[in-house]
Homo-oligomer: 379 residues x 4
């Protein structure tokens, strides 16, 4: 898939929604700040961090990890505390899971849509765990969540764990075409997935750490919800058998996953490749600024995908899949890769926010302009 | 398992068998040369390489990769060509597979026992693929091989691929205790497994290469023979379902493997741990110089085994296994590690040669001393 | 220096010069192919390689190392041999030094301007060793070269070694402002500087190799010519004392250099910083497509520049310098970084070609349009 | 230098001195614990850590980083606080410099000889900064220190910074033979020098960090004291010009240093090599258990020393030097390597303690056996 083919027309909006980022100084928060700079629909107006750096600007407070400079729009923003008094229409939460749980609830209760990357509410019974290309219909749970919890305009939407995101994106077209029975997955995950300072160099130098706390549990649970259904009252699990082994390797960005799949319907390898290659999102999704028309990219070289060489495919929003071959035990073996900080975190949250905007879930919260509620960008 | 517990009494022999190493300048050949220095039963008398370095000494010809110096006993040996005119009682073959096939046959035909690390004859119908702790009885195939092929005193014995060796060692006690139905394995293999120059740094720096040519095929085939039986006339495969994904990672030594197992008999995790922990070789094997009493070492830390930290366990001859836990799809998940150059190559061949010596398969080939045929070291 | 400040207006030309790349499949050749795709003045029309891959397209012949795909314009070009019968107005030479010497002479003699990255002719008495920001006046040697050698329209121009390029760029403003007496430099060079397959992973994994063949000699010789003068008949060396130690480290791209300088004129650290910070090219150079207005970027953080984080500054054409501090032995210590494949190779050659174009050294060599010789793009 | 040549007879002592380790859970403390296990003169009786882990055993409290297991003798020791009530005859201090200063004074005042690896007291006017092979005579400062400070049997002796240790060991024979005028040194230091967790993998993965806080200052100051003299009342600096640049590289163990030297007396490269090669310690030092007869090892290969391949030379106590060649600016260029945790920290402290023992500076502090004061091991 050439980058040029992935380009699409994005409608611009008359008035941008104002976005805040909770946990803005962390490694995922930084990616969000970068992706929001120059975004056609959103304007970054607030940065907040759990440990308040009162009076400090964002440029002073952050230890910046990206190769490109801190966006001008963010440099001089004053870092606020994570209390629901921010001047914005919605918030992204890139908070550490040790604090995200109650903070996100506070914001939702105060009326803010919360687009969270944290794990805390992912498996809540009334919170969508969302990958737009996979289960956009799960947004129907929002009114139920609001009613259940007594939220007014606020709500919480989450994106999956970084290692789940790429996997489920690749599983989606296969689930649709052939049905899924069993998923066996072993991950080789990048160090940036652990944040900063994260993995000590003494632990990973010329080494592999065959354990990531809580990761296998997430990978075995989240796909059930993502590939399942919202029946109007609750999420029904997909009922797929999943087994995950998770490892940390000395790679900067990009989680690589070795997957064996058992399908419900017999399929040839060519049919599997074709289902992946032709996977295409609908017009609504294609019009979202961060969406790719073809979010799954199939590579043919026998030794690809590779983290360093393929992680930037689709500007980090593609899942790259290769080595599609027969599995002696299940039906199909394949190897996939996705960018843990983009498709697996900041880009995922951003795409979720775009879908929320397009569907009219974001409102103008500024007092003066209470009557000028922005129209959905896409209809 | 403390090193001290692994120590055992090794009988010394009156007269050492003279060993030659074919492919002595390669990365596996070097390990053999090192392991043979000071060996209680074997004396290194010949080094040979496929590209003859006529007149060069071993010290001149070799680009030495080990941290310890070239053994004194080898430095001044003149490198010979790989023709069966070497002054030794048997040969190790660490030849590249592009040349090993016919060369090993030449040596066997000329009367040399050939203890090979190369893949070429591993799956031959009358050649033992041997891990002493696993299938010592397969040596019974040697007389049949000699008869089939018209060999006199010569024969070929092989050890498995580096990624198979550790796996099967761990599978053995489980196969005995519970029976094996299915093996799902994903490897994270060290760069030294590819020899020298082997993997280009441009390919592996901050990267993973999810492909090793021919490796998955070997891992899916060799365990069938290793865990199978010699019925007096032929090898009967174990009939286990095996699926392997093989990856190269930026690790120096040590192949890590994520394994999920389906067992024939229901077993608790404690029973599995116990079967591994108590796995012990018999007296015959324990008396071999390179053998460990407990070749499988179970570690309890949640993030072990790790290649850099555990690869030297049992001086590279142990398979280290940890993270024994339930598998939602099969029965048991575990992670194992073994030293690809020792347990997976040079040490494996050496142990095979020791077993051959103990069982009387090695003879004194020196003309003068034809009558002083050494006695088996162990009875 | 913000990227935006570095942006400048580049005049487009009515007719592009047709460029060929010798050694197009190598790691530097690939960078050239990439940089030429979409270039405003040059059009890639020929790719050649020393080992002819007759009938193969570039896409078939190349093992592509860049993260972005092979440019469309190059994919289907048929790879030619390195003989001077190419359809182009000039050639870049990214040939291996084992073959570059006579091939470049052949092309120059056949009338092609040769813009070379190879070392072979760098120190020739009549060949400019060129960094446009440093010694553009050395182009005056071209007519002398043509006369000496009996070349008609052809000639050879070279760029320095990858480790010299960034160093001399930083030295230039200091030489002008304060005069240089002594340069002490220790390099930490990236693996991509050795090409592909280049450095074996077994050599560099968790290691440093304190030796790069011929590198110290180049670093001690080339700056003398670059910082010296063309006196109308010959190059006069700068007469600076230079000592270099060169090391290979496990970094992908970017040569880091620790430098201590003895200056002729006493200068404060602030004056040194100011001289570097204000270094600016003239209008002629600034109008070249690949030129930066400020090719030296000064960073203030105490632990920068760092290869992974700063190598892309100025799209790889900047030298990034930091840690400017007093030296107890000489006058000033500093640390600098430049992209070995861009500023140190492909980008360097491209900038040289742009200067040649701007100064009228490139001609239209197509037979039909012999009368439509393109005008210099800049006057 | 073959290991065997380095072997020497070490006298055993009738009664071992009891050693305590302050900061025993850190990365240097662990090395000390390992080196003390089985030491012929010392017995580890106490482990202490600045954050008390009351009631925890050493095995429980430590995150063990060495490849060999925790020594049996240490596993069950109860970790104490760092207060001078330990049951031992002297203490090693591997404390973090944030706490070492006053703690070491407390122990010295309470009568304990303190053998410190911390930087706090290294440059004190009456504290020996000791490398036995370099400046054993500096121990004469101890009585003056005791008198100055009112210490009874206690005192403080220190070893240099990890990057200074190997450098000065190599400088010593050159200073003696030719005199030293100027030292230019650039380091490439291993991550283990920063302790644990130390360097974040996000900072060093495929990167170099050209800054180590305080390191250049130490390297420019400590050699002056080490190569200087104790004149009976104070230390007289060596008066050598020193310039240091310090870098962190992605290497596990072993600091590599590129050095250019200006000598007082003209010397050929062969004379320099010979001075290094023949450097030999006297009988007193050679009899210390941890000492090498030849602590400087000269290697001849053009691309050595290399950290991964040479760091274990002399069991980590040798400085390995190679690439001895002319320097266009000063007189001699060379590259040296030493093990930052052994020669540069734990082994250095141990050797210092052995010299103190040999010279009678250690006493039996056990109350009951006050009369059985151990005799110096060496006379």
């Amino acid at each position: 898939m050439e980058p040029s083919e992935q380009k699409k027309r994005v409608k611009s909006v008359k008035k941008k929604w104002r976005a805040g980022v909770l946990g803005a100084t962390g490694i995922v928060g930084q990616r969000l700040v970068k992706l929001l700079a120059g975004h056609p629909w959103f304007e970054l107006t607030e940065v907040a961090a759990s440990e308040r750096s009162s009076g400090m600007t964002y440029a002073e407070a952050v230890r910046w990890h990206l190769e490109t400079p801190i966006p001008e729009v963010a440099r001089d923003l004053v870092v606020k505390g994570v209390e629901p008094v921010l001047e914005c229409d919605f918030v992204f939460s890139a908070l550490d899971s040790s604090v995200a749980g109650p903070v996100e609830v506070d914001f939702a209760r105060a009326g803010y849509p919360v687009v969270s990357n944290s794990k805390n509410h992912r498996m809540d019974a009334d919170v969508p765990l969302l990958i737009p290309e996979v289960n956009a219909s799960h947004l129907d749970a929002i009114p139920v969540q609001q009613k259940n919890r007594g939220y007014d305009t606020g709500f919480i939407v989450t994106n999956p764990n970084c290692s789940t995101a790429g996997l489920v994106l690749v599983l989606k077209p296969l689930a649709e075409a052939f049905g899924l029975e069993r998923i066996f997955v072993v991950t080789l995950q990048a160090i940036s997935g652990a944040g900063y300072p994260g993995v000590a160099s003494m632990d990973i130098q010329s080494n592999v750490v065959p354990f990531i706390s809580g990761e296998e549990e997430k990978m075995e649970a989240e796909p059930q919800k993502l590939l399942g259904k919202w029946d109007g009252a609750r999420f029904v699990e997909a009922g797929v058998g999943i087994s995950a082994h998770c490892n940390r390797v000395a790679v900067l960005h990009g989680h690589l996953e070795c997957v064996s799949l058992g399908l419900k319907k017999i399929a040839s390898l060519d049919e599997v490749r074709e289902a992946l290659r032709t996977f295409e999102v609908d017009e609504e999704l294609a019009s979202l600024p961060t969406a790719l028309r073809h979010p799954v990219v199939v590579v043919d070289e026998e030794d690809r995908p590779q983290p360093r060489r393929d992680v930037e495919a689709g500007e980090g929003m593609a899942a790259v899949v290769g080595r599609i071959r027969e599995c002696p035990l299940h039906d199909v073996k394949l190897t996939l890769l996705s960018h843990n900080l983009v498709r697996g975190a900041a880009g995922a949250a951003l795409l979720n926010a775009e879908l929320l905007a397009a569907r009219g879930f974001l409102k103008d919260r500024s007092a003066k302009s209470a009557t000028e509620v922005a129209e959905p960008a896409v209809r």
